[in-house]
């Protein structure tokens, strides 16, 4: 940590550049879409917002229809057999990643000779023609709200990013898709749509960023009514900013990067940075109880939300004031948060904002083993001095992160790397197959950050931790942004995988990590997987009473006739193992349809009954019929 202050400033600015880089609007403008002026406008928003929207109505124009993220950004092996990341959007874009090939071959037994390319173009004839409720369509037409039954639009909104969903798309298999997509541009549009849907008994599925990993967006195949995907992406304005109370009132369709960028223009931020923030939407965060990387400073979504407006078949639900806390019976926000689109559409949210932090700094600590690392995180949590983000990666994930190091330009850097490695493994006696790394992100006043940094490093030292530089830290966070892109690369070469998460009391963290990882390995073996799987975890959030643990799991499926089924069985077993070891059903991914079967044991019979009775009251005809949760 010997960098001088100007160095730090440089790095801080660099970081800000990266974030803005992440969030830059795409070059190809979308003027035609901006035309959708909200007809039901009551008050003029006092913040300029219709400028610079990232998400066009036709998302497939800038995003992959059968994979993660932007069409122009992806990993591939170039003609020399080296991995590279295309495009210009990310820090990694345009760079060669020399170690990735070896890592993929070594970890999965994958080989460049064995390719499994995806179907390149959506075969629209494979898409079921829409079953349309004509009366509904007619009335919608008369409202002037834009809608579409174009197959591409519909297919794009029929899935999230679960492995089985993407795998099916890559194979060109299309199941039940929405019959129609509709783009409201304000709260009142939504009110109209919901009224009409009730009137004509049409099924509505709200669609925000489409980054769900819980099968929440899958259309129930048994649904016979017209399914309308309600795409909130055009409700994306910041309606006002209240600097006295530090709140902002925002339309719920705004996606994370736009929200952050627009607030930054006014000198503010929400600080809510889930890994999916490039694409996920505010409404989606509320509906799934999302959690951000920097929750230690800013809080999770439930801490950030001050006021929510949701349109339900019974009408609009909202609180009557913006008091910071109330004792008024059960908090109605908690019916809304985590409702996963089963009760209505979140249209507007007032959320807390903060001034942009003066200073940001990455860091990392190497521990001799995972046990020591967990003990350190526990101590940091005990002393309540966690930085904005603190994550502990296990050895496998550390090596994974290492494999993503871009090609270094100077001999000097690679010499330095070698020296660092020598120091840690030879001089300090760390076993390179056991050591693990904690990545840190500090934020705030410069003074305080430096003070804070020292405090954390002092604690780490007590657990045998060695400071390992900002680079390692930063790369750790980059991993979470590109991991979803990497999955697409894996899928090109017989490797399938996914991540899943849980939260667990402190005393069980080590046990759950060990047991779930071992269970994955054992299940893969039992299910006939021919190659040892990648089974790795990180402790990704700390709380007073426990931690959030994130697992990555992937394997090479060559030789399996039904890889997705095997994958699902293993994931199922891993979830059982999590529950048996005292972990929760989900920390922030939500339940969707993927984890419904465990809801009863998770919230008890009575708990499930309570949720059900709310659903029965709010939406007796199951208009919001995505069948999540219950």
């Amino acid at each position: 940590m010997a960098s001088n202050s100007s160095d730090r400033q440089r790095v801080a600015q660099h970081r800000l550049r990266i974030i803005t880089g992440h969030l830059q609007r795409p070059a190809d403008g979308d003027a035609d879409i901006q035309a959708a002026e909200c007809k039901a406008q009551e008050t003029k928003p006092n913040v300029a917002s219709s400028e610079g929207r990232t998400m066009p109505r036709r998302r497939q124009e800038i995003m992959k229809w059968n994979g993660w993220g932007y069409s122009d950004s992806k990993f591939l092996y170039n003609k020399k057999g080296q991995a590279e990341f295309t495009g210009k959007r990310y820090k990694l874009s345009g760079l060669i990643i020399p170690a990735l090939k070896d890592w993929m071959e070594g970890t999965f037994g994958a080989s460049l000779q064995h390719k499994t390319p995806a179907t390149p173009i959506l075969n629209t004839s494979a898409v079921q023609p829409p079953t349309l409720n004509e009366a509904f369509v007619d009335e919608i037409k008369s409202t002037g709200i834009p809608f579409s039954h174009d197959p591409e639009d519909r297919v794009f909104r029929a899935h999230g990013h679960c492995l089985h969903e993407i795998f099916a798309l890559r194979e060109g298999k299309i199941g039940r898709v929405p019959d129609m997509v509709i783009w409201p541009s304000c709260h009142n549009d939504v009110v109209k749509i919901v009224e009409l849907a009730c009137k004509h008994n049409v099924c509505l599925i709200p669609f925000g960023g489409g980054t769900s990993v819980s099968s929440a967006l899958e259309c129930p195949p048994e649904e016979t009514r017209t399914i309308v995907s309600l795409d909130t992406s055009q409700m994306n304005r910041i309606l006002w900013i209240d600097e006295k109370n530090l709140t902002a009132h925002v339309e719920a369709g705004i996606i994370g990067q736009d929200l952050e960028r627009l607030l930054n223009e006014s000198g503010y931020c929400t600080g809510h940075e889930p890994d999916s923030m490039e694409f996920s939407s505010l409404g989606g965060w509320v509906a799934t109880r999302a959690s951000g990387m920097k929750k230690n400073i800013y809080g999770n979504i439930e801490d950030l939300v001050v006021h929510v407006k949701m349109v339900t078949p019974r009408g609009v639900i909202e609180k009557g004031c913006q008091g910071p806390r109330m004792s008024t019976g059960p908090d109605i926000h908690h019916f809304i948060m985590g409702s996963e689109g089963t009760l209505g559409v979140v249209t507007e949210v007032t959320m807390k904002i903060r001034p942009i932090p003066e200073y940001q700094k990455y860091g990392s600590v190497v521990f001799p083993n995972f046990e020591q690392g967990v003990a350190c995180l526990r101590e940091v949590a005990r002393q309540r001095c966690a930085p904005a983000s603190i994550r502990l990666m296990d050895n496998e994930q550390f090596q994974f992160g290492h494999a993503l190091k871009p090609q270094v330009s100077s001999i000097f850097t690679s010499f330095l790397d070698g020296l660092k490695k020598f120091y840690i493994t030879k001089f300090k006696g760390f076993d390179s197959n056991r050591l693990c790394v904690a990545t840190l992100l500090f934020e705030g006043d410069r003074e305080k950050v430096l003070q804070h940094e020292k405090q954390v490093y002092d604690i780490a030292a007590k657990f045998g931790g060695l400071a390992a530089g900002e680079d390692n830290g930063q790369r750790g966070y980059m991993l979470t942004f590109v991991i979803a892109y990497l999955r697409d690369l894996g899928m090109d070469y017989y490797v399938i995988g996914e991540s899943f998460e849980t939260s667990v009391p402190w005393d069980r963290v080590l046990d759950i990590c060990r047991n779930v990882k071992a269970r994955i390995v054992r299940e893969c073996k039992d299910k006939g997987v021919q190659f040892p799987p990648l089974s790795t975890c990180r402790v990704t959030q700390t709380y007073d009473a426990g931690a959030c643990v994130y697992f990555y799991f992937a394997f090479n499926y060559r030789g399996l006739s039904d890889p997705v089924h095997v994958y699902e069985q293993v994931e199922h077993a891993a979830r059982e193992e999590i529950l048996a070891n005292g972990g929760s059903l989900s920390h922030h991914h939500g339940v969707g349809k993927l984890r419904k079967e465990w809801m009863r044991e998770t919230v008890s019979d009575v708990g499930l009954g309570m949720i059900k009775s709310v659903k029965d009251y709010v939406d007796p005809n199951n208009i919001f019929g995505n069948r999540n949760l219950l």
């Binding site: 005393d507 069980r508 046990d511 759950i512 047991n515 269970r519 529950l579 048996a580 070891n581 005292g582």
Partner: protein, 678 residues
């Protein structure tokens, strides 16, 4: 039928078993000293962080579990926590092993000499050893040998040393500690000592359980203990004790370990060193206290031939797979795991079923020698016979018949097929010449020989003569008992067919289930597995051609009568014994009978019956049988313990005991007996 998962129905004939290698062969050819000093580098558990024995103690004392109990005890007794901790440390000191490689080397040397003198061979299934080696690296391992002799744990450590496997730490009874030097030597070879009873002592239990748990959790070394709790004096497997099994399974159930491997080990002796000692003990001659000088006196055993030993390392059983679908592990989620809690019903029944399954796994891999079959036949003849014995030819012929039956029932029989049967028989008889007498080509038990040998002076009273004969009978019975697990289910079925009111399947099942229930303290019959046992018995008897079973009826075939008669008479001593116990309780039990006075009192009663010739089976004198019968009656509620002043008294429900006796004797159809449905 809760335990369906535990007992998979399978064809016993298909049981594949490994071959044996004699480890003494090598010892007879090369230097014992070099063997004792050779390089010993076992492959250890992959997750092990090495600890010294004293670090282990600190870990135990500092553990959350123990600290919690220390604080609790301190609060309850108003002794300071430091003092309680000191007490805990003292308990640990008394208990802990002090495994040292030098001691092991010493034992390796001495035992090589001893084994070569005593035994013809020590045979080990090497594939089992390889499996064990694999298991040790993967997960913490618990070794569960059968317990027939003091030799058992020395032998186990010796074998593990021989195969370069990590040496086990062994739970041993405190009685060994009395043997001054030997106790310490055993401690240094990995034994840790536990008190036989510590009922209410919370602190002791906490120290002990935490000590074992820590060793399992860190995979310090394979933990070894005897499921049966003590040496079986009768060579029948004893009903398993659950305490230690509970402890070693807990780290898995609470998620502290991914898995634990349980490895049943079957040690079969052709002749047990303690053979006669056991018989006398069962007859009420008290067991000598273990002492070093006693051990030296026992060295005369060194001059005898004890045949061979077979050690079979069974298939490692994963606790995880045992618990799959049986135990909901999330029950431990809502309370800190270090707070001691009595295991819930689900866990208890799981541990119990697992224990039975493991003991059965031990039984299945016990090697049976031809002599065992001869003992079965000779005992039956003795009970039925006229005292003239059986001709050698007839014995051979029946032994061959029994051999085939055994094989059909899946027994692990070591019958040398390359020898002609008469040779097999005569060589078996000669190894056990202390127990049999052959004259004029007729064989019988050497009942009077025993008297001569043991009472050289003067004429004995009829009672003493009887006891001397009983020593021989019980010694012989201990061989027969080795084979009983093969026959027990078919034998129960055979007896049930005999006593059932009809040959309706349901009636036969009722009788079967009554008998099974009655004898479940006597034999390894897993609680709640009556249906499976019945099906297994039916399957075996149908397969051997003795029965035909259709939808409703159970029919004995013409050729099956012989099998059924054989089976019922092998159960006969037990049936009669239990009836005697019932009769005693009805006729003789006075007010104020205690459990302590029960055995001497009933012994007197039985001696009377034997002397007057009303009872033929001298083995009913076995205190083991009497205690088991009492335990069964207590379990069934026919006898109750009354808490009075001083000792607990036994209160006999005479109507019920009487009806049980009648049912056992086949005088009452089971379904009418009230007790049958208990």
């Amino acid at each position: 039928m809760a335990s369906k998962a535990v007992y998979l129905h399978r064809d016993p004939m298909l049981k594949k078993r490994d071959d044996f290698e004699d480890i003494l062969e090598e010892r007879r050819r090369s230097s014992d000293l070099r063997y004792a000093l050779r390089c010993y580098t076992p492959l250890l558990y992959k997750g092990l962080t090495p600890f010294r024995a004293d670090e282990l103690k600190t870990m135990v004392l500092q553990s959350d579990q123990l600290q919690y109990v220390i604080n609790q005890v301190s609060k309850q007794t108003s002794v300071t926590a430091d003092e309680v901790e000191a007490e805990a440390a003292a308990i640990l000191e008394e208990m802990a092993h002090h495994l040292q490689i030098s001691t092991i080397r010493f034992f390796a040397f001495v035992l090589s000499k001893v084994f070569k003198t005593l035994f013809r061979s020590v045979c080990v299934n090497e594939e089992g050893v390889q499996r064990l080696q694999q298991a040790i690296q993967e997960h913490p391992v618990v070794l569960l040998p059968s317990h027939r002799s003091y030799m058992d744990f020395l032998l186990m450590s010796y074998i593990l040393y021989t195969y370069d496997l990590p040496l086990p730490v062994i739970a041993a009874g405190m009685d060994f500690m009395g043997m001054k030097i030997v106790g310490e030597m055993l401690r240094m070879s990995g034994a840790f000592f536990i008190r036989r009873s510590f009922g209410g002592d919370k602190l002791y239990w906490a120290v002990f359980s935490e000590y074992v748990r820590v060793m399992v959790k860190i995979g310090f070394a394979p933990v070894e203990f005897f499921l049966e709790g003590t040496r079986s004096r009768t060579a029948k497997s004893l009903t398993p004790k659950l305490g230690l099994l509970n402890i070693v399974m807990e780290p898995f159930l609470k998620g502290e370990l991914f898995d634990v491997s349980l490895v049943p080990v079957s040690i079969s002796y052709e002749r047990v060193l303690e053979e006669v000692l056991y018989a006398r003990e069962l007859l009420g001659v008290p067991k000598p206290k273990e002492s070093t000088s006693g051990l030296f006196k026992a060295r005369k055993v060194l001059s005898e031939d004890y045949g061979s030993i077979h050690v079979y390392f069974g298939q490692p059983v994963s606790v995880r797979s045992l618990a799959e679908g049986r135990v909901n592990r999330s029950q431990f989620n809502l309370m800190p795991r270090h707070i001691p809690r009595k295991p819930g019903e689900e866990v208890q029944s799981f541990v119990n079923d697992s224990a039975y399954r493991l003991v059965r796994a031990q039984e299945e891999n016990m090697v049976l020698k031809p002599w065992v079959l001869l003992a079965v036949l000779l005992l039956q003849d003795q009970a039925a016979g006229d005292g003239r014995g059986t001709s050698l030819d007839e014995l051979t012929e029946r032994a061959v018949w029994l051999r085939d039956l055994c094989r059909q029932f899946g027994a692990f029989l070591h019958w040398p097929d390359h020898m002609i049967p008469s040779q097999v028989v005569s060589s078996s008889l000669s190894l056990h010449r202390g127990l049999v007498r052959i004259s004029e080509g007729r064989v019988q038990l050497a009942l009077d020989q025993g008297a001569e040998a043991r009472r050289p002076l003067g004429a004995a009273t009829p009672e003493e003569e009887l006891l001397n004969r009983a020593v021989i009978v019980l010694s012989c019975a201990s061989y027969r008992n080795q084979a009983l697990h093969v026959f027990i289910r078919p034998a129960l079925l055979a007896s049930a067919i005999q006593t059932a009111s009809s040959n309706q399947k349901q009636d036969v099942y009722n009788s079967f289930s009554f008998l099974r229930n009655m004898f479940s303290n006597e034999f390894i019959l897993s609680p709640g597995a009556a249906v499976q046992d019945f099906e297994e018995a039916c399957y075996l008897l149908v397969k051997s051609g003795a029965l035909q079973i259709n939808q409703q009826e159970v029919l004995v075939t013409e050729t099956g009568q012989k099998t059924l008669t054989f089976l019922t008479s092998s159960l006969d001593p037990f049936l009669q014994g239990y009836q005697m116990v019932c009769r005693f309780l009805c006729e003789e039990a006075s007010e104020g009978l205690t459990e302590k006075r029960f055995v001497p009192a009933i012994r007197k009663f039985i001696v009377q019956h034997l002397l007057t010739g009303r009872l033929r089976h001298a083995e009913v004198l076995s205190s083991d049988l009497q205690k088991n019968a009492l335990a069964a009656l207590l379990r069934l509620g026919a006898v109750r313990k009354l808490r009075g002043r001083g000792e607990e008294q036994l209160e006999v429900n005479k109507v019920m005991v009487n009806s049980l006796e009648d049912t056992l004797g086949g005088n009452l159809p089971t379904q009418k007996a009230v007790v049958a449905r208990l």
